[in-house]
Symmetry: C2
């Protein structure tokens, strides 16, 4: 084993291999070791001699330390993330682990960006992210709900389009409903809300609802939710989910 270990944090994009960048593809092909959440590793075609280290989707910091340790042993390690690795994914964990251990600082580290879920979800329905927008993880595993609620309120006051990552799971069943209620108190009942499930993967499903009925739409861990701004518009079309877009132009509100 060579002493020149490296670590690349690779974004797979939303799932469709046609959205995997050539740079990410190459990083995967050159790796001796793949580290990541099992379902993400399953998306990478097997390669002879390449080792796979699957984990569950928690303990990200431990997984990052494991990967850095593999790299110090001379391996070319690819840490695999869905979407973009810098958006609610593994890149932050890798740099946090690095911050805690100066001995790892000599490892050459690369981040290979990818198409993050909100971009793919937006593309499926039109251009809902056409104006200013924000991305909030609804998971309160890593931050208190009070912080999330404060950020939602600020985003609503600023009239951002809001992308909600990690909206719901069996361990966090009520947070999405609470977020939609907070939104409904600030935005009109006709505001378009997009539920984009598993975009680019088996089981893809897109639902566009009005905010007043959005609480009744099913969602799961694979769903990305987009809440429109006050200017976001909906265009009906026969036999397909409506188009949703946010004009770039906006006027001052009172």
């Amino acid at each position: 084993m060579s002493a020149a270990g490296t670590l690349t944090v690779v974004g797979l994009g939303p799932g469709d291999p046609r959205w995997l960048t050539p740079a990410a593809q190459q990083a995967l092909a050159e790796a001796t070791d793949l580290v990541g959440y099992g379902p993400y590793l399953d998306r990478v075609p097997p390669q002879p001699g390449q080792r796979r280290h699957a984990s569950d989707n928690r303990v990200e910091l431990e997984r990052a330390r494991f990967a850095l340790d593999l790299a110090t042993q001379g391996n070319r390690v690819a840490v695999v993330s869905g979407g973009d690795p810098g958006v609610f994914a593994m890149a932050a964990a890798v740099f946090e682990a690095l911050d805690g251990e100066p001995a790892w600082r000599a490892i050459p580290i690369t981040v290979e960006p990818g198409v993050t879920a909100m971009l793919a979800a937006a593309a499926r329905v039109g251009a809902p992210l056409g104006g200013d927008f924000c991305a909030i993880s609804l998971s309160d595993n890593l931050k208190p709900w009070a912080v999330i609620e404060r950020r939602l309120q600020a985003a609503l006051a600023a009239d951002f389009v809001i992308a909600l990552y990690n909206p719901i799971s069996s361990a966090r069943p009520w947070q999405l409903g609470a977020a939609l209620e907070i939104a409904a108190a600030a935005r009109g009942p006709e505001t378009p809300v997009v539920f984009a499930r598993a975009v680019g993967r088996a089981g893809e499903a897109i639902t566009v609802a009005r905010l007043a009925e959005a609480g009744g739409v099913a969602a799961d861990m694979a769903t990305l939710v987009l809440i429109g701004a006050s200017t976001t518009r909906l265009m009906l079309r026969p036999g397909e989910p409506p188009y949703v877009y946010t004009p770039r132009r906006c006027e001052a509100r009172p």
Copy 2:
């Protein structure tokens, strides 16, 4: 010319062809007509028989109407955007044009997502977008400065990492300085600010500054600016720009 015209809004990614998705590549290859801002078209390798319709970077709505009209004439039109077409780019203009003209609604329209500038900029320095974040266009051509200022204030109050698109141009020389001053009034002087110019293209330059000195850093139209949250950290490394990351975990603030 066949009657079955189509329109695809294609994201080229930040510029490096290794970040162009296979799906976007295919959409470009299949197009009879490319429509877009000249420098974006210049990134697409010429193809015999394919027509190119270059424009300047304004009048997006006119360009969108021109592209839709070409599609109604039976052409396979690709509207070319840098980065992701849904983020401060052409997709919103296409759907706005469509909204104004029901006769165009029968055209099959696809949006091909891409790696948007903030993801590539973040990847170059670590994981600054690791927490909740927002994206704001600093251009006041399409919205009043008062709206931008209100959104900046809300984003600062919510402790979002802030990505600033279109930070400066010869016609808008003071907006970035004003935004950095607003940020400096709300966040600590040590807050990391990333200036990522032309990531993935000739002339790429990355500068990481502390917020107190950020006003003195040169920026231009090709620059993406990232202002850290209160939790964003900086790790110095010899001979390279420092790493910047935002831990996913955050505690409630008073």
